[in-house]
């Protein structure tokens, strides 16, 4: 079963074409990492997939349901507000800058969306949230506010917030880029644990060795196109394209 399918996605910002005919699909339980230099379009691709940006051309499909369908000319036609909101239940997104709600306690950050949006019973949601917090090693922080936490702790809360909605697929947009180097490990560990539980994930990252270890599939993007993709050993250890080699060279020291 394909959790996510993107077919022939194009995206322009004004005259600047940031995504050119991108296609990708993610199966259940698959972990896909997207790597590439900044400005390569990988974050834009993630933002299109999570409906924060609209694609100009192509299909966007979650579990067989179309969020956007290309018409005869290829232009993306999006579903209406209700259809899109229903599809949002399928995915979660972890931001580079966490984007926790500062006026909510850790517990409310995690529990409000499933209660308010998911219309689920309070007791159940709270019980699940405590399990999630325990998993993130943050059990004693449930009453804390985001500003009282370290960056790594905030990012773990935001992962818990995304997981509380029980998404079928979880996107990570450079989840460690805003963290101090000594804090990246704790986030990568959490993602690794999720991978071990067969969570379907798409991760935009600059952590090459992490991407190699955690993913089933690696996509290297540059200049708005997928330059090379395949198994981690192939793309990271034995890249075929010159651009991939040049990019990876800068990460091997």
């Amino acid at each position: 079963m394909k959790v996510l399918e993107i077919n022939h996605c194009n995206k322009k910002f004004g005259e600047n074409e940031v995504l050119k005919d991108i296609s990708l699909s993610v199966s259940e339980g698959q972990v896909v990492s997207i790597i590439g230099p900044s400005g390569s379009g990988k974050s834009t691709l993630l933002r299109c997939a999570t409906l924060l940006e609209t694609m100009d051309k192509g299909d966007l499909i979650y579990l067989g349901d179309y969020a956007a369908k290309a018409n005869e000319e290829g232009a993306s036609v999006y579903g209406d507000e209700n259809q899109l909101r229903a599809l949002k239940k399928h995915f979660g997104l972890v931001f580079q800058n966490f984007n926790l709600f500062p006026h909510y306690s850790v517990m409310r950050n995690i529990t409000e969306p499933p209660i308010l949006i998911g219309k689920r019973p309070k007791e159940e949601v709270f019980a699940e949230a405590r399990v999630l917090l325990a998993k993130m090693g943050l059990s004693e922080k449930e009453k804390a506010y985001p500003h009282q936490l370290s960056g790594g702790q905030q990012q773990r809360v935001s992962i818990a917030r995304a997981l509380a909605m029980k998404p079928k697929i979880l996107f990570f947009d450079e989840p460690t880029s805003a963290l101090d180097p000594e804090l990246t490990g704790e986030i990568l560990k959490v993602i690794q644990d999720l991978a071990a539980e067969h969570m379907t994930m798409v991760i935009v990252t600059h952590e090459m060795s992490f991407a190699r270890d955690v993913s089933d599939h690696i996509i290297f993007m540059d200049g708005g196109v997928i330059v090379e993709e395949g198994a981690p050993e192939e793309v990271i250890e034995h890249p075929k394209q010159e651009r991939t080699k040049a990019f990876l060279c800068r990460f091997q020291s």
Partner: protein
């Protein structure tokens, strides 16, 4: 004049103080929500002629293209809100009060009862303060990081949930200092109701001062405003403290 004298003046001013308080409270009650509506209008991106640019963006060139582009970008609600705000901030409050009071008669020929005096005062103040509050709200709303909207959007919050649950509480915290300024200014501005002969405290103080040829009532009036504003400042400080649990 002894203590009894001061108390006597304060007593005579008492009724006026209530009138001042009435103007103050009613103006806040009406202008604060009205300001939010004006702020929404000011931030409106509704462009009813936008369709002119959608389909054939490439075709908009040559003769008439400029006009067409301009029309497509025209945002009528935002434009009206800007005009509203610029007029109310750009002309004296005193003039606005006179217009609100006399316009029904001189423009529409409607003669209104004496009771309209208070209505005109509240209406004039409320509209004027709404314009200022609107800009304060706008600055507060626009200072909430875009990431907050994006996080809410991805979690499935709709527009209203995003605004009332996520943006509004953060806006309130951010705008407290300028709102305090505005409320303090309002306390003193209530004295301007005298232009419509509405007998609030300052009007009374002037009358008593003139009748008894003493400036003591004016000092008492000054003390009243000062104490009133000290209370306002104190209350607002408490509110700020109450919201300091997050950053």
């Amino acid at each position: 004049m002894g203590v009894a004298g001061y108390l006597n003046i304060a007593q005579q001013l008492g009724e006026g103080m209530l009138a001042t308080l009435l103007i103050f409270v009613l103006t806040l009650v009406f202008s604060m929500p009205l300001g939010l509506l004006v702020a929404f209008a000011r931030m409106s991106k509704w462009a009813p002629f936008g369709f002119l640019l959608h389909k054939d963006a490439g075709a908009v060139k040559g003769h008439g293209g400029h006009l067409r582009g301009g029309l497509a970008a025209f945002q009528p609600i935002q434009f009206l809100a800007k005009v509203f705000i610029s007029i109310l901030r750009g002309t004296p409050l005193m003039l606005q009060l006179l217009v609100v009071y006399f316009a029904p008669f001189y423009i529409f020929g409607i003669s209104l009862s004496k009771g309209y005096r208070l209505i005109a005062v509240i209406l004039g103040f409320s509209i004027n303060y709404a314009a200022y509050f609107a800009e304060i709200y706008r600055s507060g709303i626009q200072s909430v990081p875009v990431g907050q909207y994006e996080a809410a959007a991805v979690l499935g919050y709709n527009k209203y949930q995003t605004f009332f649950k996520i943006v509004f509480p953060q806006m309130v915290k951010r705008i407290l200092p300028p709102v305090t300024n505005e409320i303090i200014t309002l306390v003193k501005d209530t004295a301007m109701a005298f232009v419509l002969n509405y007998t609030e405290m300052f009007t009374l103080a002037k009358q008593i001062a003139a009748a008894k040829t003493t400036i003591i009532p004016l000092f008492v009036a000054g003390a009243f405003y000062f104490v009133f504003n000290a209370v306002v400042a104190h209350v607002m400080e408490r509110v700020e403290k109450a919201l300091s649990y997050y950053r």
